[in-house]
Symmetry: C2
Subunit: 280 residues, 2 copies
């Protein structure tokens, strides 16, 4: 009888697209996450834009059906009807992402969609895209306090102890939202009588703090520098305590990154700072 | 009479969620991209998890309706019914992303979803999440040929001239898919009698090339080092030509990054290399 995760039902999910597959993947994953008692093997099949490729996918779907003893779930954003028909001939259960929503939207917007006229729609290289790459380069150039004289161009400056999650958060905000995010590490040398470094003083309104559970920080640092003072629990606990004191004294908003993903930390920071995302 | 983009219809779109808003944003943007003759002002409102926050959003929606002279489009992934009802009382046109799909999925999977039992579902910190952060750190540590002795741990090694898009692509593959991607620049010094550097020889099967239009490369480099030999069209054209020759001679698959976004380049590389995405 089922007693643990190893006994969970197995189902295969396919995310199929004639483009990158990111929309099918994102929505499909959100929907599957609502079913906690089923284990899903997730496979993305992007650029399915010929009948031949579609037929190869049908074989994969049918093989998964045989293996699982249950119909694979298919999330698709395919536009071409011939290709859709081929996939529909498989043993999968199809969830058609686009068509369900486009009819009501066409009615509301009083315009036919590219989809309903059968035109595949690639996301072009618009000016926002260039902004996002510029933001990634900004994050890389202004990482870890590498330079501080471009802080006037930053949307946000993350501060926190080493390995509290500043760099991945900055990169994510840049890549996903086009936000120019710098980060500045509060290092061991600063810890005694910790004050806000003078390079940060003129930019107080852009500062946002990250903190982290001391034990988790120690584990993360241990992977980098095993058995060092830097990674010791005592040192981590000391740094985290001093930095949190600084955040409170200086009225710097901060978030504990311990139990959040980079996506969650980034989304919360933008809300707290009142910064609007720059979307594609 | 309407003659250009400045005369396009304006509509406001809200992406509303009790979580990060990424699902609502991703699907909403894909759907809106199908309507090419309408300009959308896109606003994401994450973490709307109290009636008070929902009421504040209703005011924003109604203000946008008054400004545009048309109903804002609302894409939501809200779970709580009380909050949904408040948003529904606004003047917006609601597209309910989750509920349309969950009923058929519940039937197919023979399980009630967290959504339909009213349980908000946060994406937890699972092992895949740690993998993704590890992959980001791997990309940063192995960027731009900084070190080559960890190439045995790489899933992929991007090669190409300076500023051909290697670093953002590596970071995106890491962040989004948990792929360990290193990159190695083919520099000016290597260009005469260009051969595959010896550090790359043992890892030929992991190599993937990026190339780029010479004029675009020159523009990109110009932003970094204006009026330099490095950014001159002649130098860019020479480097691109030599590198493409190398890719062909050595049978290294490559892609022209000029007209693709980082998302598209990454998705295509994974297909070409036969690497499966490591999804959340």
């Amino acid at each position: 009888m089922p007693t643990g995760p190893q006994d969970m039902t197995n189902r295969t999910a396919f995310f199929i697209s004639d483009g990158t597959g990111i929309t099918a993947e994102t929505l499909g994953q959100s929907l599957l996450a609502q079913f906690e008692n089923i284990h899903f093997t997730k496979l993305t099949r992007p650029y399915i834009d010929t009948p031949e490729k579609a037929k190869a996918i049908v074989q994969q779907i049918n093989a998964a059906a045989a293996k699982d003893g249950a119909r694979p779930i298919i999330f698709d954003t395919l536009v071409n009807q011939e290709i859709r028909d081929i996939i529909a001939s498989s043993q999968g259960f199809m969830v058609d992402i686009l068509s369900s929503f486009l009819a009501p939207l066409e009615h509301e917007l009083k315009e036919r969609s590219s989809y309903s006229v059968g035109k595949s729609h690639a996301i072009g290289l618009n000016s926002n895209y260039a902004d996002r790459i510029a933001a990634v380069n900004f994050a890389l150039d202004n990482d870890d306090g590498a330079r501080t004289h471009y802080y006037n161009k930053a949307d946000i400056i993350l501060v926190g102890v080493s390995r509290s999650g500043k760099t991945p958060t900055c990169l994510y905000m840049a890549m996903q939202f086009g936000i120019r995010a710098a980060n500045y590490p509060l290092t061991e040398e600063d810890m005694e009588n910790l004050r806000l470094p003078s390079s940060l003083q003129p930019h107080r309104h852009k500062l946002f703090g990250l903190t982290i559970d001391s034990e988790r920080l120690s584990n993360i640092r241990h992977e980098r520098k095993p058995d060092s003072r830097y990674s010791s629990y005592a040192q981590c606990e000391f740094e985290v305590r001093e930095v949190e004191k600084l955040f409170k004294r200086e009225n710097i908003k901060y978030i504990d990154s311990t139990h959040f993903s980079v996506e969650e930390i980034s989304a919360r920071i933008l809300v707290e700072m009142g910064i609007e995302r720059r979307l594609k």
